[in-house]
Symmetry: C2
Subunit: 146 residues, 2 copies
Amino acid sequence: MSPNKLPRHKAVVIAILHSADRLRRQATEMLAPHDITLQQFNVLRILRGARPDGLCTLTIAERMIEETPGVTRLIDRLEKKGLVRRVRSAEDRRQVWCRITPAGERLLARLDDPVEAFDRAAVHGLSPADQDHLTALLGQLHGEPI
Amino acid sequence: MSPNKLPRHKAVVIAILHSADRLRRQATEMLAPHDITLQQFNVLRILRGARPDGLCTLTIAERMIEETPGVTRLIDRLEKKGLVRRVRSAEDRRQVWCRITPAGERLLARLDDPVEAFDRAAVHGLSPADQDHLTALLGQLHGEPI
DNA sequence: TATATTTACTTGACATGTCAACTATTGATC
DNA sequence: GATCAATAGTTGACATGTCAAGTAAATATA
């Protein structure tokens, strides 16, 4: 089926994209029974880490490395589900502060164990040393300072 | 900014997702001036590799590890741009054969050099040995036979 | 202080990923 | 040969990513 012996630089790129795809699919599948998507889960975790004040929309977007419009609508859905509440800032009325609700925190609490198990299972094919090595190689790829 | 010392198994997962995200964005940016998206480019390359017969929709979907509905609409757009042509099969009238057009081939020909340069640049932070190592580690992660 | 610029979002439009449901065929079975 | 099941796609609906434009409020400037 795949007789193609790829040059090494193409093989790396494809391997990274495939691995990420697989991880995303598996994570999405794990979260589906809880009626939450991977991105919604990420936003909730970011907001849990920002209690009790919450964060304004642009800050959330920055942390997700994503464009703002997507974040606005993502939070629209989280608010509709009652997992996040938004309040317009009094000091700067352009800003909208987003906070996780108790219901959001309860959902995350239910997910903590499954997510931990997922992360461990996802990398269980590698020894701890190889895990560190993989992380380091991906960091170097970014031109990350060593 | 990131004071969080992540446990190694979470660090790996996040590193993979971040690297893939970065690659996807950069690739999309490189292709944008040519009015083609990354997925459309992938389908075109698959179809170039399947000349002259082409492939039927489900086969393309398999090779892209994607759900069929997405592929149908992806090819709708490629056909609208004149880069792909579809013909219903005579032997099995359920099947639709998709072939790249001369215009599609010309587009890919224009892209070959930039794409090659992109792939090389994307991994230039790693030595050839490290590139191989990275590919191998990602393969092991999948539980790939060694 | 009136105007111009910047900032923080929001909205609209389109590409894509994915599930569910539907259509058209083909193949299998009685 | 008629009926049922499996196969190949398509369509509808919704989440998301992204660009371009628009809105409202704050800030800088003349």
